[in-house]
């Protein structure tokens, strides 16, 4: 081999030096950027590439630069807690009511007053004191394979416990925060004893093993391995738009059934307690929530806007639903209890 062993240390040194310089300059630029007081720094639990386009649009219109840190919701919450007053974040965006309330209970938000936000965001989708505001809505209907389960059989979530569905019901496991919120929804609406009974019926119908993600679960429904499942609507919408023809035809076999009422959840944002640029953060929030851009924010990921059904043809094709009257705040506050009930019922 022409490559000499003794040459490696020198090359390694040289590469490391080069890397160090590159890294240092990259950090230097980033550091400088964060020092501009008029920037808005966003910690976001949403991580859809399309969000970046909207932030870029905001910068174009207002000249305010948006610095983005995407991550797991719970980690962002922990990070903000530890950073305390030293935190650089101005805006915190999280997904699912449970996590938003967790952040609120950790005192990570600062209440703001905004007539525009109060107008654009329905009252059950925001904090009464103005700590956080919903940005998009997502619904969790029942997805059915009509060849196996008659769609008309399911009129509410309670019907998922019917004996006709034994061994045909596929669900995600208890770790899924979406299912936790669904249970919390039932808990608020129907009370503890009814929810416990519902959970017992549900677990009796499980087709094991439970799934760890929505998309393979929906494929199983389309392929006939599951009769019914509960999933967020945007996963199916995405499958229907996939460039892969086989994926589209599998998704086409899945029918969306809207229980009455339907469990709705949100992604939401709020100005952080120690924000250095709260005015900028508030402007960004108002921009994201405004009907024109809000639709763009939601539609790119096949989510619903805050009011109405939006202009997404696929979502329109799913039909309309009656959203549950439960407020996001209630969903969040009952989350721990819901998880306990799920554990007791044997939902693993």
């Amino acid at each position: 081999m022409p490559f000499k062993l003794t040459a490696i240390p020198t090359t390694a040194l040289a590469t490391t030096a080069l890397a160090a310089t590159t890294l240092a300059s990259a950090i230097g630029v980033a550091g400088m950027a964060q020092n501009r007081p008029q920037d808005v720094n966003v910690y976001s639990g949403r991580h859809y590439n399309t969000d970046k386009q909207l932030y870029a649009e905001f910068t174009r219109r207002t000249g305010i630069k948006v610095n983005l840190l995407e991550g797991k919701d719970d980690e962002l919450i922990q990070r903000l807690k530890s950073e305390g007053s030293k935190s650089k974040a101005d805006l915190l965006v999280l997904v699912d009511a449970a996590r938003i309330i967790r952040a609120q209970e950790a005192d990570l938000f600062r209440p703001i007053r905004s007539a525009e936000l109060n107008k654009d965001v329905p009252s059950n989708l925001r904090d009464p004191q103005g700590a956080w505001y919903a940005l998009t809505r997502r619904a969790r209907p029942v997805m059915v394979n009509p060849a196996i389960v008659r769609p008309g059989l399911i009129r509410t979530y309670a019907d998922l416990g019917r004996p006709e569905l034994k061994g045909k019901l596929c669900l995600r496991n208890r770790a899924s925060v979406y299912n936790q919120s669904l249970t919390a929804d039932e808990l608020v609406r129907r009370g503890k004893p009814a929810t416990q009974q519902w959970l017992r019926g549900l677990t009796a119908n499980f087709k094991q093993p439970l799934f760890t993600s929505d998309t393979p679960m929906l494929r199983a429904v389309g392929q006939g391995q599951c009769g019914a499942a509960v999933a967020n609507q945007y996963y199916l919408a995405r499958m229907l738009q996939d460039k892969n023809g086989a994926e589209r035809s599998t998704a086409a076999k899945v029918k969306v059934v809207w229980p009455n009422p339907t469990h709705v959840n949100i992604s939401a944002g709020g100005v952080t307690r120690h924000a250095r640029n709260p005015e900028g953060a508030q402007r960004l929030l108002e921009f994201l929530v405004s009907p024109s851009s809000g639709e763009g924010y939601a539609a790119a990921n096949n989510e619903y806007p805050l009011k109405g059904w939006g202009n997404n043809p696929i979502l329109k094709g799913f039909g309309s639903f009656r959203p549950s009257p439960v407020s996001m705040e209630q969903l969040g506050r009952r989350n721990r209890e819901a998880v306990q009930l799920m554990t007791q019922a044997g939902w693993d």
Partner: protein
């Protein structure tokens, strides 16, 4: 007796103290937080916790056994036997290391779901984790087989002992410390693995710790689970230590034996080729099969974005590798020169960072870093060093123990101070393990997820972070671009090691 140090005995102690202090600080902070704060749930594992402990133990046991068998067998075959394609197959063993386990799991599950095949549960988890981690055993064992006991092997061959018996009675006992080190390393990776194991639905300690801490708001329960995880790893490391103590054989051969000891023919050669090609093919087959579904995912990221991500991953990995290997070398040398048990213990503890699941370590660093106001990149390097110092230390320790102390004594009696001994005797003999360690750390940092995700500054995504963001959004297809680059870096690092592997021929 260990030779006395002329200067800086206390300096050694200081170095080890600082290193182990840095390594342990995040863990101690977490424990303090957990034990001092109020408790939400009752103390105790609970049914969930018990299942998670069982899950992790089963994974460790399964992967340990399977990885040991596969890694040792392939290490032996490629080091000592000769058959067509041996050289390429030896290099190919480094391919599976380039694939993050969570990506293998996500693409396999996705591919399976298109065909109505449910990829789920303990069996699949053990298989995938073995595929992702057997390379530790392979690398350390092949290094040992190539270097140690050549004369003994040749002697046994000339005495008419066949390959099988030579392997079991001569080569294996000599290589046992290195194999043990490899098994311990891969087992620790299994304890730490979070993403793949969650996707496959196997309860695990790493997931349990995170869920309790952040989901349930029960830091004490999480700390308890962390202690269990640490206990498992402590058992692994201790077992490996005992193994090394019992099979203390110094290699007085000196040079590397040239040539191979056995040539395989006919069906034996074919069997060897088959065994050696299975893991690399398996690792490559998974993403390839799944990419067949469509290349559209590759367009998800613009090229400039991909290059930026790649630049950050590369830069971080190179820096982290330099820092970590230097630290490991320092610790290994200190351990060798100082007979004080305190130094030995501290050096052992410094390597424990590997045992802490990355997500827990990240939590500890977040808690530490906030008040200290350290730059995020500094925190990242701290985290990488803490986690991966054990990776290079294991190989170094095992290799240093192959060097008999008599050599040190001879050198010092001839007037060399410890620095000269280091430079002229230890370092040349440690080149192999140092390189292996550097390669492993480099690939690990490029693939690393939880620490990077939790500590990075604004607008500072790496390739691994981007892969995770897409995969956790169930857009595994779009993760292909950055994932291919991760694999490319892994392969590049692997190819950088080829000269060192080939030199033995």
């Amino acid at each position: 007796m260990q030779p006395e140090l002329s200067v800086g005995r206390s300096g050694l102690l200081l170095v080890v103290l600082i290193a182990s202090g840095l390594a342990l600080l995040p863990l101690l902070i977490l424990l303090k937080d957990a034990l001092v704060g109020g408790s939400a749930g009752g103390l105790g594992l609970g049914a969930d916790g018990a299942r998670q402990v069982q899950g992790t133990l089963l994974l460790v046991g399964g992967e340990g056994v399977l990885g040991a068998v596969v890694g040792t067998a392939i290490g032996w075959l490629t080091a000592v036997c000769r058959f067509p394609g041996r050289r390429w197959l030896r290099i190919a063993q480094l391919v599976p290391m380039a694939f993050p386990a969570y990506l293998l799991a996500a693409s396999l599950i996705d591919w399976g779901s298109h065909r109505g095949l449910r990829i789920h549960g303990l069996g699949w988890a053990i298989a995938l984790l073995t595929l992702a981690n057997y390379s530790y055993v392979f690398l350390l064992s092949t290094e040992s087989f190539s270097v140690s006991g050549r004369r003994l092997l040749e002697a046994s061959r000339s005495l008419g002992v066949g390959p099988w018996r030579s392997f079991f009675r001569v080569a294996l006992p000599i290589a046992l410390p290195s194999i043990g080190a490899g098994i311990a390393l891969s087992a620790m990776e299994v304890v730490n693995e979070l993403g793949a194991v969650r996707l496959l639905g196997v309860p695990s300690l790493s997931a349990g710790i995170l869920d309790r801490w952040q989901g349930d708001g029960d830091p004490q329960g999480a700390a308890l689970l962390s202690l269990v995880a640490l206990a498992i790893v402590a058992v692994l490391i201790t077992a490996e230590r005992l193994l090394r103590l019992r099979s203390r054989r110094w290699n007085l051969d000196g040079g590397r034996g040239g040539g191979h000891v056995w040539t395989l023919h006919g069906w034996r050669a074919a069997a060897a080729q088959l065994l050696c090609s299975l893991p690399p093919l398996g690792a490559v087959a998974i993403p390839t099969l799944w990419m067949q579904q469509g290349w559209q995912g590759l367009q998800a990221e613009p090229l400039s974005e991909l290059l930026q991500l790649a630049g950050r991953s590369l830069g971080l990995a190179l820096l982290a590798t330099a820092v970590t290997c230097l630290g490991a070398l320092l610790l290994a040398i200190c351990r060798r020169w100082s007979p004080q048990p305190l130094v030995q213990q501290l050096s052992f503890l410094a390597g424990l960072g590997y045992a802490i699941p990355g997500s827990v370590l990240a939590l500890g660093l977040i808690v530490l870093g906030g008040p200290l106001g350290l730059s995020p990149v500094l925190l990242l390097l701290w985290g990488y060093g803490d986690r991966f110092i054990a990776v290079s230390k294991q190989g170094l320790d095992a290799a240093l123990e192959r060097i008999p102390p008599s050599i040190d004594e001879t050198a010092t009696s001839l007037g060399c101070d410890w620095l000269a001994v280091l430079r002229r005797i230890h370092l040349p003999l440690l080149r192999g393990p140092l390189l292996v360690g550097a390669l492993l750390v480099f690939v690990d940092v490029v693939k690393e997820l939880p620490i990077t995700l939790a500590l990075r500054p604004f607008d500072f995504d790496t390739l691994a972070v981007r892969v995770f963001q897409y995969a956790s959004d169930e857009r595994v297809g779009s993760a292909m671009g950055p994932a291919l680059l991760i694999m490319l870096f892994g392969l590049m690092a692997a190819f950088a090691l080829i000269p060192s592997l080939d030199q033995r021929d």
